[in-house]
Symmetry: C2
Subunit: 230 residues, 2 copies
């Protein structure tokens, strides 16, 4: 399994930016289902007043939904099943290949210790007209901070998180997300992040992360304390 700490060790002090590789698919058909749901999400976004005929699309999706629902276990059971595999890393709502909400974001580890992503967001992520929803920026950065902590060999859950929205963050334009550990002390990690559109600073953020653990569904013997990137 990919480990940030191992990768950094192998690469030594100087190396090229390193894409964070996806974990292998547990079920390639699940990844295909999610990829198709993303196509449908992106195509259906902002279709009001477009005069596109959608009646047959809704009917066909309804049939597939009925078929799928008849097969799946309860949400509780599914959360337990997840821990037979890689846990939440493949299913998270920012980068997970098993989650149709995720744009997804592909991260790269850089040799200055930062984690980076380049990403263009479409209408499904809109807040103000033509702009990324401020809460979507907050969602992506929070997740990215967890990864940057791992890249620096740190773990923890978000304790405090703050953002300054410096200028509007545009849709349909490549955005650069950057994130790095700023300071550490005992159980605490302070992590910073930015979003730029070209040279323009859109968002600045700071997070405080604390080492902590939460129980794992259906696994009373295991405590999860690794953050999302394990």
């Amino acid at each position: 399994m990919f480990s940030f700490a191992q990768a950094r060790e192998q690469l030594g002090e100087s190396f090229d930016p390193l894409p964070v590789p996806p974990l292998p698919a547990t079920d390639p058909d699940l990844d295909r289902v999610v990829a198709e749901l993303r196509r449908l999400r992106d195509a259906s976004a902002a279709l009001a007043n477009s005069e596109v005929e959608l009646g047959d699309i809704a009917d066909r999706l309804g049939e597939v939904a009925g078929l799928l629902e008849s097969r799946v276990p309860s949400p509780e059971k599914r959360l337990e099943n997840l821990w037979k595999g890689y846990g939440t890393r493949r299913s998270n709502p920012v980068a997970g290949p098993e989650n149709p909400i995720a744009p997804p974001v592909d991260f790269v580890g850089c040799d200055d210790g930062s984690v980076m992503a380049t990403l263009t967001l479409g209408p499904a992520y809109q807040g103000p007209p033509g702009c990324v929803h401020g809460g979507i920026s907050a969602l992506i950065i929070d997740h990215m901070m967890g990864l940057a902590n791992h890249w620096a060999g740190r773990y923890g859950m978000t304790a405090h998180y703050e953002l300054d929205y410096c200028s509007p963050t545009p849709l349909l334009v490549p955005l650069t997300f950057r994130c790095w550990v700023h300071e550490t002390e005992g159980r605490k990690t302070w992590t910073h992040a930015t979003i730029h559109a070209g040279d323009r600073l859109c968002v600045e953020a700071r997070g405080l992360f604390l080492e902590a653990s939460v129980p794992v569904p259906g696994r009373p013997d295991v405590k999860w304390n690794k953050g999302d990137a394990t």
Copy 2:
């Protein structure tokens, strides 16, 4: 069209909590498409290691995606079309009936000036095991603050936003979101919010909103300055 200010005026000083009514559907088939995509999203979430057979589901979704993609205009054109109607309120990623990412959240205006929502989140919104992703809490609260500002007759875009994560926010348990304007001064509005699971405080948040305007796609005559709830 529903207006917070008008509703409050009509109701006078004392009234029962008032559900924020959805705007009428521009295209009921679009709402149906999105409702079916949500069923598919919730059913497919966390299916790794479940032994559910998904090959035929992926194939069928791929066919529908191809059919839909062949009909839709470019994202830029769709963003313009949106402004022939209600703008972003029906399509936002938190409450919009036209957005398959949105849980959705249904808001209620309360007579103490706060806005409230009760919401149970499933596996698609997971961060730590069995818990809501911290960034998802941030997304929902940021959006809700915009609504609370409207409820108080204020407008603005998020300038600064901070959250304290006091305890883990559970999945599959009803959560109570509360949000209210704390203070106002000229162009500035300070808004507070909390998330509780039962009596337990999970998240506390504070936002600073500034009156501002952004251009509307394809409408050089219009400046948008009303926040998302108009």
